[in-house]
């Protein structure tokens, strides 16, 4: 009994003082208030400055308070956590504000009429018109680019992972790396030089070729990583059953990684869907509906946005159309991403019982 009482009074070596759960919120609130005060007193006009001051105060405050109450090790832990949160907020704020601005400005003219009509009889400074021609152009150019770029990219990746040995594989890897760094305007100029040699006028398919060049390295890289994730044991198991190598790749390796490969292709499509420079050079832009990507100038969504902004000379109707087209483009890319995620989840190797 007496020994127990003595033990009880001795401080535990396992339990230390700790801040209450609400302390991060309190510190955050305090630093925001303090930052606003500093901003008002110091006469700082930029809200960005206020926010940065608040972030710094929050980090310093967390460290100071935690050091006093909990000790240095916990303070370091807390400051790491706080840094992650601050970085997260810094990354999210521009993203959310971008979406907010695009949506709020874009919905003004975005309706069924806008999506199903072209700019054929509407001057850039007048209200009305739509982006049907640009949507058709984008879908055709990006679609054709995918039809060219994705198979070549996937097959290259299969070569690199499954067959590639020695100098050729190293050279291919090197050139894929180089291609990843090609600025889109350079890809456009490359195709443009060919067009000039053959004395051709701008047409949609030329844009597709440039987009395919931009797409290929992205597809190769992502597919390569996905194929490397397939355990070698599966390949050996299939080979040991007397299955030829090409069938092993087709029936075991690819199905196992198809979810990831699809995601990679979709992300590559999303990347090229927003390309403006090569389209500007090669497809030129066209206010009329042109369904034939192999002849005559076409429009495309990013190009439409650029041209509405540039050629409208301050007409608000053109700005509205540009914002609405941006919103359409963002929605298009987001739908692609959602589809990719859906396919990845649907095709992922199942683990259920």
């Amino acid at each position: 009994m007496s020994t127990a009482a003595v033990t009880d009074k001795r401080p535990s070596t396992l339990r230390g003082a700790s801040l209450p759960k609400w302390s991060p919120w309190a510190i955050a609130g305090g630093s925001i208030v303090l930052a606003v005060a500093i901003g008002l007193i110091g006469g700082l006009h930029s809200k960005v400055e206020w926010g940065l001051i608040a972030a710094v105060l929050f980090l310093l405050g967390t460290y100071g308070v935690a050091t006093m109450v909990e000790g240095r090790r916990q303070a370091k832990d807390r400051i790491a956590t706080s840094l992650v949160w601050v970085a997260f907020l810094l990354a999210v704020i521009p993203l959310v504000s971008l979406i907010w601005v695009t949506v709020s400005r874009g919905v003004k003219v975005l309706n069924v009429y806008f999506l199903t009509h072209s700019m054929g009889v509407v001057a850039d400074s007048e209200p009305g018109g739509g982006i049907y021609h640009a949507i058709i152009g984008s879908l055709e150019q990006v679609g054709l680019a995918t039809v060219i770029g994705a198979p070549i990219g996937i097959l290259t990746a299969i070569y690199l992972v499954e067959y590639g040995r020695g100098k050729l594989a190293k050279a291919v890897t090197f050139f894929v790396d180089v291609m990843t760094g090609i600025p889109s305007i350079v890809a456009g100029l490359f195709i443009l030089s060919l067009m000039l040699i053959f004395q051709m006028q701008p047409f949609g398919f030329a844009g597709s070729l440039a987009l395919a060049i931009l797409m290929m390295p992205v597809v190769v890289r992502s597919t390569e990583e996905m194929l490397k994730l397939v355990p070698n044991e599966l390949r050996e198991a299939s080979l040991a059953l007397g299955v030829p190598k090409w069938r092993t790749i087709l029936k075991v390796v690819l199905p196992t990684s198809i979810g990831g490969i699809t995601t990679g292709v979709m992300l590559a499509i999303a990347r090229i869907a927003g390309e403006t420079a090569p389209v500007l050079l090669l497809v030129f832009g066209n206010p009329f509906i042109n369904n034939n990507p192999f002849e005559g100038a076409q429009a495309s969504l990013p190009l439409f946005i650029f041209q509405q902004y540039q050629q409208s000379a301050g007409a608000s109707a053109a700005y509205d159309r540009a914002w609405a087209a941006s919103l359409t483009l963002i929605a298009f890319v987001m739908i692609l991403n959602l589809v990719a995620r859906g396919i990845a989840r649907w095709k992922a190797p199942k683990t259920g019982r």
């Binding site: 040991a240 059953l241 299955v243 069938r247 075991v252 196992t256 190797p349 683990t351 019982r353």
Partner: protein
């Protein structure tokens, strides 16, 4: 069905590194031959040379002869794919195909080789699963993914997959090392049944297992790290474990190794 394997003067390399040197032995049909020996002595490498899986490893190459009923597996014009259809293999870690159901896993060998008739497939899958003592456990969930089974069940699924293509020889590379004692027992029993139909070669680190399941045992050793592995002796399992003719074998078996 079962065929005899005759190995003579077999040497295998990984690039310039010689992994095993000058191995000669005969594996009798309808029997279990166990390979024992310390890690790195080339048991698995040797096993993989018996169905030409060794050359799948980059830089892997082989010298010497492996006769499967008088036909040299490394002779001119021999297709390694055909060899692997005759000599099946079960790996150390269970590796069912994750995208396939239990049924598809067993049918994989036939389907991927494109040699099957639709109405036969059900019978073959059932026969193979029964052969692997797995039928009763999975018959109600053949459409469920194979990766949902327990480790021991997965390994038996892999055995079912290997025997579904009706090979002549079954190679097993430490098939029980990732399993618990009960699953191990199930697989050992299975090996006893399978030897009625197949020639079985098993690599194991478990000497009791070698003593329990095998008819003949081969002891491999290497003289030093970095040296190629060699076959020390091969004899009836009983003799190897009671009265081996080489001192190194007795030292290894009795634990007085090194």
């Amino acid at each position: 069905m079962a065929k005899r394997i005759d190995v003579s003067g077999l040497t295998a390399y990984y690039g310039s590194h010689k992994a095993i040197e000058d191995i000669s032995m005969t594996v009798e049909p309808r029997s279990v031959t166990a390979f024992i020996g310390p890690s790195g002595c080339g048991k698995s490498t040797f096993l993989r040379t018996l169905n030409r899986m060794h050359e799948v490893t980059p830089g892997g190459r082989v010298e010497g002869k492996v006769l499967l009923d008088d036909e040299d597996l490394y002779g001119a014009g021999i297709d390694p794919v055909s060899v692997r259809r005759e000599v099946g293999m079960v790996f150390q870690r269970p590796n069912p195909f994750p995208t396939m159901s239990i049924f598809d896993n067993v049918a994989a060998g036939l389907r991927l080789n494109g040699k099957y008739r639709k109405n036969e497939l059900n019978d073959i899958v059932e026969k193979s699963l029964k052969g692997a003592n797995l039928w009763n456990e999975v018959k109600d969930r053949l459409n469920k993914p194979g990766s949902g089974l327990s480790g021991g069940q997965q390994q038996r699924l892999c055995i079912a997959r290997a025997i579904a293509v009706e090979p002549n020889v079954l190679l097993m590379d430490e098939p029980c090392s990732a399993l618990d004692p009960i699953s191990t027992l199930a697989i050992e029993d299975l090996i006893g049944e399978l030897k009625e139909r197949f020639t079985i070669v098993i690599v194991t680190h478990n000497m009791q297992q070698a003593a329990r399941v095998s008819d003949r045992t081969a002891f491999f050793n290497l003289s030093a790290v970095g040296q190629p592995g060699r076959l020390i002796e091969i004899d009836d399992t009983e003799r190897i474990f009671s009265n081996p003719s080489v001192q190194a074998t007795e030292d290894y078996i009795s634990g007085r190794f090194g």
